[in-house]
Subunit: 331 residues, 2 copies
């Protein structure tokens, strides 16, 4: 029976279309035969010894030669800090020059690994790198929001093999982020509660959609998941900004993220996916009412005209079934 | 130079990333060799003589045997009118039963045609069919919004060859539609103007992004286009609902839509695309402040982690250049 479900965290409706629904294993795509990927490629700008193929690094964990993670400016940036910040208004046509930062986080020296296959320590290095860059760019003048994200596979918008994430720092608060912040603020004004804390509490109580729970984090499929196998990774401690994560939380997040992605990797045979960190804009305090999280969005279906014409998603997997499927994948 | 641009019509920012920008002809994808598509397939549920392969039709133009367009319920509906409408609330978990309508509009009896290749009269039949179904479903109890859309090609979410559109009627107003309506209402309250009329007037004055203009319609690429080659088809007459379109406007819209899609077809070698009609929710009057339009969204690039993490799009084509390119395609 199809059903529309309301997502309280982001104030959106989703159609859970069980009429066209698939069982969890139906989402495993037949893969083309891919030749094994080597540990090193001499034309890959992100492989060790090829550092000169990318712009000079802005951050590194480890030695110049034996590094563990590296951050470099994106060679084809969407925004650039070489630009002066300038606002123009010509009648209804408002613009801001493309000032900002666009960086690539090289997650690991090995060309052919994945977070799902890394050691906990290696994933910890990635999260630590995220935090360091986030903190450093938060202090940069004219930066309003920092979006950390990962694209894995062609359906997720990348054909680069070498494991990498990206970071874009923008000179405006993206309207959707503003709108979610307003929603969280009003929710707090009305109920005295952080909507993130409350949704987490209710999902843990309901249990059916929880995939992983540790002392400090929970991974669950939202009641109104946008896409099949969407997972949210929420810290249990109330924190508005990702930058507030402490050392033991970095350690725990690394372990939980690795398990969540391993379950996807094993359960659905290495599907394409994006993940993104949803944090409060950098100049907002929002101490009381915003809650950062990491959202994992597998790219198993293609949004079409209905989604583009209504902003509403059709999800063809029942979140409870998908969560049970991943809970049962041993990692 | 990259630039952020503000879209007044929908209150969103877009990054026009000229640093990673492409020239218009770079968007032409190398097509796989496709065998010619036949005019008829005996296993296609939308070809004449195969009518029994789909559920009984809800509307038809023409005779039962020599029809011009047909409307049938979607065999795998996202929403269904067999459902009773029922709201459930369980703590924070709100749902509505999947009541609604999901129909397929078979645009033409020929299996291997496209709107770009049809006669004006054939396209007129499609628009007339849209209007008839829109009007009929507007009167149905519990229907709040009607979304008419088209998916063309795998990147746009369909692998069906037979030319078809779809219609989904929902028991709630999708939040994004509500939010755009609120924006238009406030804009009217503040300025006394319909934001659609005003954007149209300014785009016609600016000229650079206009692709087609007739007495009653304009086709332009928005100043802050979400995706490369996005086109809006706006009626010049102020109308909140698509259902208000009159006979001569149907005739003119058919001709303009056909030319716009032909330009895409010829200019970019039959790219995958969606289009969708953005109309006011059915129980709103909005006479003064809402303006319906048709939005054409070619699927030439893949939204990735940044778009999913911020709601903001990165467009790698300059709308002025893309508009000039399509203006110069003869049809």
């Amino acid at each position: 029976m199809p059903e529309l479900r309301y997502n309280l965290l982001v104030r959106d409706w989703v159609i859970i279309a069980t009429g066209r629904a698939k069982r969890p294993h139906d989402f495993i795509k037949a893969k083309k035969e891919i030749p094994p990927i080597p540990e090193y490629r001499d034309n890959c700008p992100f492989c060790p010894r090829n550092e000169s193929l990318s712009p000079p690094e802005t951050f590194r964990l480890g030695d110049a030669k034996v590094w563990r993670t590296r951050v470099v400016p994106n060679k084809f940036p969407a925004l650039s800090s070489d630009e002066e910040i300038e606002r123009k208004t010509d009648g209804i046509f408002n613009s801001v020059s493309g000032f900002g930062v666009h960086e690539v986080i090289v997650e690991n020296p090995r060309h052919n690994t994945l977070i799902a296959l890394m050691s906990d320590k290696e994933v910890e290095d990635i999260i630590r790198t995220y935090k360091t860059r986030y903190l450093s760019l938060s202090g940069k003048e004219h930066i309003e929001a920092i979006i950390i994200f990962k694209n894995h596979g062609p359906a997720a918008g990348t054909s680069l093999e070498h494991p990498h994430s990206q970071l874009i720092a923008t000179p405006i608060v993206p309207p959707q982020i503003r709108s979610r912040l307003e929603h969280a603020t009003r929710y707090f004004d009305t109920t005295g509660k952080c909507v993130g804390c409350f949704v987490l509490e209710q999902e843990l109580k309901a249990k059916a959609r929880v995939v992983i729970e540790t002392d400090g984090f929970a991974v669950f499929m939202p009641y109104a998941s946008f896409v099949p196998f969407q997972m949210l990774v929420l810290p249990k401690r109330h924190m508005a900004s990702f930058a507030d994560i402490n050392d033991s939380e970095i350690f725990e997040l690394a372990s939980v993220l690795k398990i969540a992605l391993s379950k996807l990797y094993r359960g659905l045979d290495n599907p394409d996916f994006n993940y993104t960190i949803r944090s409060i804009p950098v100049h907002e305090n929002g101490e009381e009412y915003f809650h950062w999280y990491l959202s994992i969005l597998p790219r198993l279906t293609q949004p079409a005209g209905f989604e583009l014409g209504s902003g509403m998603f059709i999800n063809t997997a029942l979140p409870e079934e998908a969560a049970e499927f991943l809970r049962n994948i041993k990692c």
